[in-house]
Every structure is written in structure tokens, then in C-alpha cells.
């Protein structure tokens, strides 16, 4: 167990790197936001594993906080993109098409 838990953490961290690639390439704002959300969920998993492995149960509360904030961020994003669309400004302008 002492080996398995950190190994899973490393695996999840590598997972994040893959997700990061998506945030990097886009191409649409929604892609980026979606992978940022994925980032949030994976982080929750990492925090829960760390809580077990480092024996610090308080990290579970931090994980709970992450879950709640991720939901709120997603709503903020939806409002932002729809709000932009409602003002007849194409949401794609937000991502600047290409870096």
C-alpha cells in the first residue's frame, strides 16, 4: 500500500500533463475549460490519495472544496461564453484562434 498510493499519485499527475496538453492546444475556449475542469477532478483524486498516504485527513476537506469550486467555475464559464454570445460577439474570439 505504501508503494501503491504514491504510484497512483504519480500516474494521476502524468494524467494531468496529458490534460494540460489539451488546455494548451485548445482549439476552442470550451476545450480549454473542459480540460481545466478535468484538471480539477483529477486534483481531487490526488488530494484524496495524499490524504490517505500522508495520513492528513484534512486534505479530504480540501478535496471537498475543490469539488464545489470546480462546479462553480464551470457555471462561471458557461455564463461567460453565453453572455459573450448573447452580445453577438463570437465566443471563439476569446481564444484568439492561434497563439
Amino acid at each position: 500500500m505504501t508503494v501503491l498510493l504514491p504510484a497512483v499519485v504519480v500516474f494521476l499527475l502524468l494524467n494531468l500533463v496529458a490534460g494540460l496538453w489539451r488546455v494548451y492546444t485548445g482549439p476552442s475556449a470550451a476545450d480549454r475549460m473542459l480540460s481545466a475542469l478535468l484538471f480539477g477532478s483529477t486534483t481531487v483524486a490526488i488530494l484524496l490519495l495524499l490524504a490517505q498516504w500522508q495520513d492528513s485527513p484534512a486534505l479530504r476537506v480540501a478535496a471537498l472544496l475543490f469539488v464545489m469550486l470546480a462546479a462553480i467555475t464551470s457555471i462561471a464559464f458557461v455564463a461567460m461564453v453565453q453572455g459573450g454570445a448573447a452580445r453577438r460577439q463570437p465566443a471563439t474570439r476569446a481564444n484568439g484562434t492561434k497563439s
Binding site: 499527475l13 475556449a29 472544496l65 469550486l69 457555471i75 452580445r87 484562434t97
Partner: protein, 311 residues
Amino acid sequence: MSLAIDLLIATGLVVLAWQALVGGSLFRGIVMFIVFGLTMALAWARLGSPDLAMAEAAIGAGVTGALLMIAYWRLRALGANRPAPRSPLRARVALGVGLLSAVLVAMIGLAAVGAIGPGGEAGQALAEALPATGLGNPITGVLVIFRNLDTLLEVAVLLAAYVASRAVMGDDKAALPLPPAQDAPLVGALVAVLAPLAVLVAIYLLKAGSQLPGGAFQAGAVLAAGGVLLMLAGRLHPAPLCGVGLRIALVAGTVVFSGVGLIMLALGQPLLAIPGTWAVYLIETAMMISIGATLVLLFAGSAGLTGTPRR
């Protein structure tokens, strides 16, 4: 294995900082910044500070990210997001300065880490003094009892930020535009669950803060996140005037904190002495309310808030 975890997170921080700050579109930069904040939270978790992990996630990434997004949205609505070109010379100088500062910080940081002596004298004093207070969380102890002047002034900083933002807005401005709320069925359902949950979590964090990680700042940030949620879902609207209740909420933290401290002085105790655990809870509750209210108002970019009658 644990070093591998640290290395991965640390590398992630560097890459994300680069992604957030250099090149690419501004919007991508903001998203990357939020992800950077979440990674910082992981770093704090690895450094054994769940308190900071929570604060970083809620304030550093969550609320700051929301503020940056709304500012971006407003700037775009103003049509003011065009980038300006830079001279290549300046970029080269900047690269030099950046590299130099990184090397400098690394050198002095490594020297500082290498030169660690017996550990912080103040930190040891903290560990010795904590049991007498009845608190289990040293961070809450520092913030509310041992170094509470910092905390009090910091709530005043938040108040100053709000008043200064109001000063920037000027008289004539009712409120800055928010993205128009959409009637999405899912949003309504989510809000119905999340808003009460935010209050519940905030109260839990406040309650837990005396013994476990948590406390007024994290709780206030969660309340603020709830308020932002209500605003984005169109349940709360920016208003040109600040109601009395809201105004009291804004200053409650400063007033209750100073009030307790000054009453103790009048009773012959030291200035800002905290009489007991009940006072800790009282002060933390007031601070939570102030922090939440101020952050929501800063997000709204307005003096006050109004609710919407049900449609």
C-alpha cells in the same frame, strides 16, 4: 517516490506559469492561471499545509480566477483587448532580467535552505504557546490570537480595496455589466444544490478551523464563491446602492475584531487580547461575513446587490 511527486508538481508549476504568462491568448492565460492556482494547492498539500491548500484553491485560484474572467469579459465588452506590439530589444532585456532574477532567487533560496539552523524561534514559541489557548490549529492561533494585528489590518486592507474600487467607479456608475443570465435548466438545478451547500461548507470550515485546517478566510472565500454563483445565475444583481445590512456586513470583521480588542484593553488586559474560544468564534464569524461580502461586491463591481423576484 515522494520526491518524484514533488518533482512532477514543481515542474507543473513552472510550465503552467510559463503557459499563463508568456505567449498565447489572454483567455488561455487566465485558464492556465487558474490551473496554476490548483497546482499551487497541490504543492501546499505536499508541504503539509491543508489550510493553505484550501485557501489557495478557494481564493488564489477560485475567486481570483473569477475576478480575472469577469474583468476579461468586461474589457472585451468594451472592445479594449487589443494587444500592443513590443520592441525586440525590450524582449531581450526582459529575458535577461528574468533569467538573472530566477538564478538569483534560486541561489539565495538554496543558500537559505542549506543554512537552516535550529528552526524558527518564533515557530517554536508558537508550538509551546498553542496548547494554552485551547485551539488545535496553530494557523488559527497565529491569525486570531498571537499575531492578530496582522489579521485585523488585513481585513482593513480588504475594506480599503472595496472602497477604493468604489472610488474608481465614480458616482454615476450604477454597476458594471455582468454577463446576461441564461435560462438554462441545468444551471437552475445546480444553483439550487450548490448555494446551500456553499453555506454549509462555509460554516463547517469555520467551525472546524479552531482544531483542524480551515477558518474564516477559507469560509469567507467559499461564501463568496456561492455569491458569485448566484450572481452568474442571475439570482443576484449588482445594484447602485449599498443597503444597510450589506454595509454592516462589509465592516463587521474590522469592527467586531477591534471591538473585542479594545474592550479587553478597557478591562485592563493587553490590547487585542482574546478572552477565550468563544471570542475566537465570534471574531471568525464576523470576519467570514466581511470577507464573503467584500469579495462578492468586488466581483459585482458595484456598490450593492439586489435579489431578483422569482420569475
